[in-house]
Symmetry: C2
């Protein structure tokens, strides 16, 4: 699966993914109004607005990008109606030829992780029939429970040619609280990185493994160390743009061929029309603002590769 992602990155020349993390506050008034008129100020009304918002952004960006990364929490907060739109968004993006990284950060004891892996990457057996639930190409995974909590995801990656990105060093301000603590002279995240390398070793797809890592762009000196430590691990890189990291901060995440990393931007793309820089598009044309923001972000990243 990671080879499919690499090919799409090479074709689009855009090592980035659009984070489809729709907060209601990002959605232009005309969409909210139309949706509330049809469905009321209900969970269904919110979910329908999110759907139209997502669709417009995907319609204006799909030909420029290799993949999207919907954050499931933003859908889960609207309950079943929100999760229906999560599923619908995934299918719509896949129909457009996009790969989808489900950002769910799941992780539990073995038998439970197996159920999550089934839910998001695999197939579930009902009687003699097989079905899929959310069926994304990639999923983000939390490593706190250790190998037996991650292994079921790796097994599904192997069986179904899917991929995962395991949290190693996250982009948030307090990520260091536990992740940076020294164990035998090395930070915890490097120990997690060792395990990610181990988990990924028999899951190779070309030069890179289907077991990737989440490495925040906000700590570039750490990215540089991790890039060396994990030469066959693809990085999913949050933290660019709204969270503060610049293109220069991204450079250490990439290998010498300009591969090895895919950079996420959520707010910076989907709410671009609210930035002064893109205000000229107006909220009615927010999709065009997102398109321009993708073009600008790709150029910005490519300028350092």
């Amino acid at each position: 699966m990671i080879q499919q992602l690499i090919q799409k990155i090479q074709k689009t020349k855009a090592p980035l993914c659009v984070g489809l993390d729709p907060m209601l506050g990002y959605i232009p008034e005309h969409i909210l109004k139309a949706s509330f008129q049809e469905f009321g100020e209900t969970l269904e009304g919110a979910a329908n607005a999110i759907w139209h918002f997502n669709k417009e952004i995907v319609d204006h960006t799909w030909d420029l990008i290799p993949c999207v990364k919907p954050q499931i929490a933003m859908y889960e907060q609207f309950g079943i109606e929100g999760l229906k739109v999560y599923a619908r968004t995934i299918r719509y993006c896949q129909d457009k030829g996009l790969l989808v990284i489900g950002d769910a950060k799941r992780g539990d004891i073995g038998s439970t992780s197996a159920a999550y892996a089934t839910a998001h990457l695999g197939k579930v057996k009902v009687g003699e029939s097989w079905h899929t639930a959310f069926d994304t190409e990639f999923l983000t995974v939390n490593p706190y429970l250790g190998t037996d909590g991650v292994k079921p995801f790796v097994d599904v990656c192997k069986a179904e040619d899917k991929g995962i990105f395991v949290l190693v060093k996250t982009s948030n301000p307090s990520s260091g609280e536990f992740q940076d603590r020294l164990i035998d002279g090395r930070p915890l995240y490097e120990h997690v990185a060792d395990k990610v390398v181990e988990w990924g070793a028999d899951c190779m797809d070309g030069e890179y493994s289907n077991v990737g890592a989440v490495v925040g762009a906000t700590y570039p000196e750490m990215s540089a160390v991790l890039r060396k430590q994990m030469p066959h691990t693809y990085f999913l890189v949050p933290g660019y743009g709204a969270q503060g990291a610049t293109a220069g901060d991204l450079r250490p995440c990439f290998d010498d061929n300009g591969l090895g990393a895919i950079v996420n931007s959520s707010r910076g793309i989907i709410a671009a029309y609210r930035q002064e820089k893109y205000a000229k598009f107006g909220s009615e044309h927010f999709g065009e603002a997102s398109r321009q923001a993708v073009i600008d972000m790709a150029a910005d990243i490519n300028s350092v590769l």
Copy 2:
């Protein structure tokens, strides 16, 4: 909220929760058959079977227990249909007077954790209206991202009088891989425990905080240390029964008054009819087997308190 749980534990004399983690393999043939006849071997057919299975177990145990703990992964693997039954199970249990611990182990960067907290414990604003999504009394939370990933859950606990259980030391075989590693001479889980105490300090509800901890019963010597380290933190204790821990292993999780911990059992209760000990009930009467297993488990725990 933790006081409500304590009162229910005192009333039922059963410091336990029933883990509603239905695998299709646990569900008796007559339920599966009826459901597949009505809905086919579909996700809806599976979800409907789970619903009838859960309902039977709840109907046979609700008067004996303070709470249930549905594991959302077991529903998520059946997609939207599965999650509808997760929501329906929660409401059904609450209507019976049970408290519900949503076992979701969510955790992400701040704004995303806020969405998860809304999804599972809080209210979401749509226009001028407020709605709830899954609305459980408690939720399990993963701490790997540090304070800014946990704080949004704590905030919702304070605003809505809800509770969380943060993963400290989990019950699975490889939990030690990261959690037991020494940082300044103390295992990582003790550092997490320090933070849990800190997060819970301004969230007190009587003698105990609404911010609790997940502490696996499978490592009793560690439970004893954590009980001392966290005198005002309620423990949610997995690992009893099918995972190998005995009543004796549970003792260190409790305080001198026999409070301070609630022990989960999933397979041991919901699939009791498959154990030789309860085979006499037969698969047709699996709810009665679960009832007897609850009675036996409560007696077993109380024997060491």
